[in-house]
Symmetry: C2
């Protein structure tokens, strides 16, 4: 794999100076076009130490307009970062649409070094590469251009390079004993790198292997490849937009599903909606569960076990009230309620999962999502706010996201608060009558109500595709608010208890 | 995940009879449209025993035009099949463009059952699911519609169903002790199935979970889903074709790479082309290696170790002559030379790898490809016969294919026979002068020669992306035919020797 990057390719100073001005102009022009585009560029630099990853990123920063680029390098995770799933820090740093992000010591760093040092097996490295593939695929599916450069040096060239740096008093500090240690493990490193490249070089995220020995050759290749790749992607996106437009007016009009299918019971219609709790019973059970939650949460806080709660449900199903009963048992500094409405401008410029990743909170905290990432497969699907492809692949993206939350040791509960259409109507009417509740009722609520059937189908699919053993849905019979509140509280407590046991 | 498929959904006979005629007409109409299309439909039926996988496939066969459907079910591999990599039998059976293939006990069968019986760990099942993902992704990338139905029954419903079959003397034979054994492992089965679905439900190959308890409900869902999916895919393909056309005339004209990059040495220019072997030396070494090959091959044949040899190289580089020197040492019944020219009509109607899979031969045989699957990243890339996306993703598809060959215990060698442009010119001239060699020289050879630089770049990328530790390229200095022949023979012998050692 690397033979082709040990050929001694060189560009002289004169040659480079002759092409530099034009190349630079072209890059700036490409960057200008990119600013108007609806995708970010994600550049990953990987490779052998001393092969010029940093210098190349530096040159790119120097040549391009720095207002539209971000560069990130990662070392040991900070406290802030260790509290979250490992990919949190990469999500946080993703460039928004129109920008270029350069990543050094990126998501490839830890799996590769852990393998080289023998801390993980080949199979374990592969598992981590799958996660990387999912990450890059999700970004690429969303339109991002993912471009990866692997800077290579032969063993001999690496030695020469380290020596040269050492011999110059101005650069000697750059060479540490760790560098020489790595050099001794060169063969292991290159073997693991080959597997890494094989497993993660995909059509949508290709590795470009670059001979790194000569700086000017390396610059010329990277800059030229980058310019061509962005240009081609700009064209590709424009063409893709035309397809999307095309698919909105399909040749064959979509026929509604036959009635014998739409009239079938759904996962919701199978719920026993008569369940109820009356006054005294409710008060007692609520107090019990709140006391339990309070105790459990204090233990979770001590142990750094975070809790993520997701609330979805029909309009007027009582999400807000239930959440308040929950947070009442907690200390205000320990929880955060995230109401999910239409995304902000900043959020729209990112992958749809970005705004949920950013809200994952520090160890021991409780994060409550009042509506959530499931909007993609509910409202966005039903209202046609995203393409069919987009919501269909969202199931996999969501499962992957939740798996990372659970693997990081967090407790995750997902609630669908269900009420019947009749109960909803009664609550709507009540709201419109009580003055201080009128603000809660909007025209949109009435419009959504008309699409009850379509939402029910979407909920059914959602449960089918995302209710898993590691992240099950809890369907809550919420015609009775009292019943619903106690059921939610009890479920959270049970999950916390189980999570605390696991974390021992 | 399966809660939503245990709701007791039912369609009465009257209801079904009322929609059946129209549904059937629509399906036939969709099938008619599909026949003109440039993609196949691949339907996978998985699920719980007794949930109606077979009956549903039967109904589809009854309702549709059987000339354009194929149905395949798999049990223990035949002798023929065991000799090849496990996926050989699935590739062999893939429907061609315009057809519908239905797969029962498909590629999911073995990983799932092996997991349920505890023969593989979760991580091992995951590894096998990755292979499945690659397989389905390659087909979908090529345009195929992959649609998967998971037929579900609750534990109770499965028991009821098995009992019912047993009680009827006409169907009792269908229930075996194995079925009851499986029923006892229901929970394990469903747990493994959940993971399987989560790992393999992708945007391009979604699992549809179908409640299987009521036959008419199940039929209605499957037939309706299928009809809608094919219709949508027909529209999507048409839109995609428009993009492809759009991308052929990019907004920004592709600029050629700057000369400072194109003039760089390539993996080929670094070869020492003066290497040679003269008469006596050649004869002796050739005889030695041929004798060695003959002995090694006999051992390989006894042990059932197959050999796959790939020959690529410039026109007139001496592939034919080298192959003849090799086959002379073998028994004609033991080897097969596959000359790869333009694909046949039958082959064009399949994924480009299909025609190579089909030629993998039985245990202990030698299969020699005179040109190969690398055409995708060489001639098809350079001549623009396929899209950029297609040849870029081919590297991964090829690595996956070769990994399967090597994992099956076959010996794989890949040769690039290199000559200099001057040597090629001399050989062309010689061919045009010697009458009995004139047929070998075509106008195309001269045209290819003009694109030497583009081919050299493509060869460099090919080696970079596909020369791996498990399947390395051997670059052969072939200006001297004698040197080339001995080097190839020796490399094959060394590889065979190593392969035989591993197979012990």
């Amino acid at each position: 794999m690397f033979e082709a990057a040990e050929l001694g390719r060189k560009v002289t100073r004169e040659e480079f100076d002759a092409i530099a001005p034009q190349l630079r102009t072209e890059l700036l022009e490409v960057q200008r076009r990119l600013r108007e585009a609806d995708f970010p560029v994600i550049i990953v630099f990987g490779g052998v130490d001393g092969a010029g990853k940093n210098e190349t990123a530096n040159l790119l920063n120097e040549w391009m307009d720095p207002r539209w680029t971000v560069t990130r390098a990662y070392s040991r995770p900070s406290d802030e970062e260790s509290d979250r799933p490992p990919f949190w820090r990469f999500w946080r740093d993703l460039p928004s649409k129109g920008k270029i992000g350069m990543f050094l010591s990126s998501w490839y760093h830890a799996p590769l070094l852990d393998r080289v040092h023998g801390q993980i097996s080949v199979a374990e490295m592969d598992e981590r590469l799958i996660r990387i593939n999912h990450f890059e695929k999700a970004l690429a599916d969303d339109g991002a251009l993912v471009i990866k450069f692997w800077m290579h040096l032969s063993k001999k060239a690496q030695k020469k390079r380290l020596k040269k740096l050492e011999d110059d008093p101005l650069t000697a500090w750059q060479v540490t004993p760790v560098d020489w240690e790595h050099w001794k493990m060169y063969d292991k490193f290159v073997g693991a790198a080959e597997r890494l490249i094989m497993q993660t070089s995909k059509g949508h995220a290709l590795w470009h292997i670059v001979e790194g020995a000569d700086a000017r050759y390396r610059y010329s290749v990277v800059l030229n490849t980058l310019k061509d790749a962005i240009t081609a992607h700009l064209d590709r996106r424009e063409a893709q937009k035309k397809v999307a437009a095309e698919l909105k007016k399909p040749k064959t009009a979509k026929k509604p599903a036959p009635e014998i299918l739409t009239k079938q019971p759904s996962i919701l219609s199978s719920l026993d909606m008569t369940q109820n709790l009356d006054g005294d019973d409710y008060n007692q059970k609520l107090q019990e569960q709140r006391a339990r939650l309070s105790t459990l949460h204090r233990r979770a806080k001590d142990k750094g076990v975070s809790t993520v709660l997701v609330f979805e449900g029909w309009d007027a199903a009582g999400k807000g009230g239930t959440i308040r009963r929950l947070t009442n048992a907690l200390n205000a500094r320990d929880y955060q309620v995230i109401p999910i409405a239409a995304p902000t401008e900043e959020e729209r410029a990112q992958h749809y999962l970005w705004r949920f990743w950013r809200h994952l909170s520090r160890a021991g905290r409780v994060t409550i999502f009042d509506r959530s990432w499931y909007g993609r497969v509910l409202v966005e699907r039903v209202e046609g706010f995203c393409t069919d492809d987009a919501w269909q692949r969202a199931y996999g993206e969501i499962n992957d996201f939740e798996e990372q939350i659970v693997e990081a040791g967090h407790v995750l509960c997902k609630f669908w608060l269900h009420i019947t259409p009749e109960e909803q109507l009664a609550r709507f009417n009540q709201r419109s009558e009580i003055e201080y509740k009128q603000w809660k009722l909007t025209d949109e609520d009435w419009r959504n109500r008309e699409k009850w059937g379509a939402y029910e189908t979407a909920v059914n699919h959602m449960v089918e595709q995302t209710s898993t053993q590691i992240a099950p849905w809890t369907l809550v019979e919420a015609n009775s608010k009292t019943w619903a509140r106690v059921k939610v509280l009890r479920t959270v407590c049970d999950a916390l208890e189980a999570g605390l046991k696991k974390s021992k």
